[in-house]
């Protein structure tokens, strides 16, 4: 199943790639608000308000042209040297305009649309990417490369990440796949759903998300529902780890009682970014100890 899905994905990507190269006149590339993307002069002052796009910009060599980031964009380390313009959602339009950008990149959620519209009305070139899945990472990194004039570096980044993901997938494809539950929040309990890149990463790393069948990136669940799904492994961040091990409520989950809680490196796996390959390797090592050295 995973193989078939990968092939379809690969086919889709090849198709998309071909259309770009042959300069297909019909569908021009658009961002996730449906705005046509204008490629031409490479921007010199970029504002990126999304940890993922900021990290991608640094990876493709456009980091030194960043003049603004969100307070959450702290990867790579050098991103912290870029002035923070505050929140990534519902950002301050004035703060952005004050940075005098010639390209603004927002996260394409509905609550960013008013800021997006006002920036464009003010004549600031603005694009918005959703960037929640591995496929979106591949597509948007290439688009960011074209937007910033760093197409070649962008293709190299995508190829390198894809190659690592494929290597991990092949290494785990024959192994037994444990079922995994990833809580991201405690009150209420929020689980990673099938719509998240984390769910895709689990598949690649040789496991299965217990909520893979849910199409949304995340969902609220009850503890009883988790107990009923009986995950083999619970994956948590370092802070959650100590909380759930001692909680009588969480200990109703057999995996928590039997010490099958594994601590994941949140810095690595929390963004569908250039770290996707490294994240897959680290997850595979966690779920199938000793598979990579």
């Amino acid at each position: 199943m995973a193989r078939i899905r990968f092939l379809i994905l690969a086919a889709a990507l090849i198709g998309c790639h071909a259309s770009e190269q042959h300069a297909d006149p019909s569908p021009e590339p658009r961002d996730d608000y449906g705005t046509r993307l204008a490629f031409g002069v490479a921007p010199k002052r970029i504002v990126s308000l999304n940890p993922t796009t900021t990290e991608i910009l640094f990876a493709i060599g456009a980091g030194d042209r960043l003049v603004g980031r969100s307070q959450y964009d702290t990867f790579p380390d050098s991103a912290k040297l870029v002035p923070s313009l505050g929140p990534a959602l519902r950002p301050s339009v004035e703060a952005i305009i004050d940075a005098k950008p010639d390209l603004v990149i927002l996260y394409a959620s509905e609550d960013n649309r008013p800021a997006f519209d006002r920036l464009r009305q003010a004549g600031v070139p603005t694009v918005a990417f959703k960037l929640d899945s591995i496929e979106q990472f591949r597509r948007d990194t290439r688009l960011l490369g074209r937007l910033t004039g760093d197409s070649v570096r962008a293709l190299l980044v995508v190829d390198s990440v894809s190659a690592t993901l494929e290597r991990v997938r092949l290494a785990t494809v024959t192994l037994e796949r444990p079922t995994v539950f990833i809580p991201t929040w405690n009150k209420p309990i929020i689980a990673i759903g099938g719509g998240s890149f984390m769910s895709e990463l689990l598949e690649i790393a040789g496991a299965k998300n217990v909520y893979a069948s849910v199409p949304t990136p995340s969902l609220a669940v009850t503890i009883e529902d988790v107990v009923a799904r009986n995950p083999d492994i619970v994956l948590v961040g370092p802070q959650t780890d100590s909380t759930i091990r001692t909680s009588p409520i969480w200990r109703t989950i057999p995996a928590v009682r039997d010490n099958r809680v594994k601590v994941v490196d949140l810095d690595l796996v929390s963004r569908p970014s250039v770290t996707l390959g490294a994240a897959a390797v680290s997850l595979a090592n966690l779920l199938h100890p000793g598979i990579f050295r």
């Binding site: 009150k187 209420p188 969902l219 009850t222 009883e224 529902d225 107990v227 009923a228 409520i249 109703t252």
Partner: protein, 322 residues
Amino acid sequence: MTASRWLLLVLSLVVAAILAIAIGTINVPISAIGDALRGDQSTPALVVRSLRIPRVILATLVGAGLGMSGAALQGTMRNPLAEPYLLGVSGGAAVGAVLATVVGLSFAFVPIAAFLGAIVAVIAAFFVARVAGSRGDARVLLMAGVVVGAFANAAIMVLLANAEPNVVRNALWWMMGSVADATWPQIEVLFGYVVVGGTALALLGRRVDVLALGEDAAAGLGLDVDRSIRDVFILSSLVAAATVAAAGLIGFVGLVVPHIARGFGARRHRTLIVASGIIGATLVVMADLLGRVLRPPAELPLGAVTALVGVPFFLAKLRHLR
């Protein structure tokens, strides 16, 4: 109220509690309930012992506390809309809880902050009423509570306006009320407040009967009106604040349960307060059960479901109110 009606109320609560322990996402065999009580470590027994029994007991205490304080306040204030939340308890508690969340205190501090917030708000309402010149006037006290509540709402909006999304989510979750995280230490604390506070309120029932005649009439009958109002006010605020600290904001119960109790024929306040406690407990236990089985795998907010469950009861009993 007749003995058969008392029996009906108590039976409803018992049946609701048994259903709430037996039903859930996981099908547990009836034997698991016995296993759970014997300390068995199997998953069904743990689900019953660590998840369902604590939340049913917490729901019972929360409902009982809110029902009793609502009944006592409505009589004392001679106002069918009076309830602890209207006196600033909910607003103050919410400010405390949101403040604790915004400044990044751990979850463990939220109940304490909520309790303190509720007490501060109630004292503020009392103080406002005193400045207005008539601490003992129930209407002034009620208005002071509403004003303090409005101030609290504004404070919450200011606090949340620029908070991080995670903080907003925590705060909203808390404000929607839940007994999902019920733990035994929490239950022990609330048990003290509800049993001691509830008993005291029931004992004050006679004085509330007299107050309900009107303040002048009550004073004419030799009642210390100021002191009586203050005692009821403080006791019901304390009980309500404790329920809020344990389970967040669960609206509707304090307001509507006393009316349902009157529909059952409770007239004297001692009867009314105790009956409201039992009905409130049944309502919250049922609402919690519905909240967790209606839309799996998620859970509906308890504070909303209490209204969804309570409204039909309220409408059915409405004709008795005329």
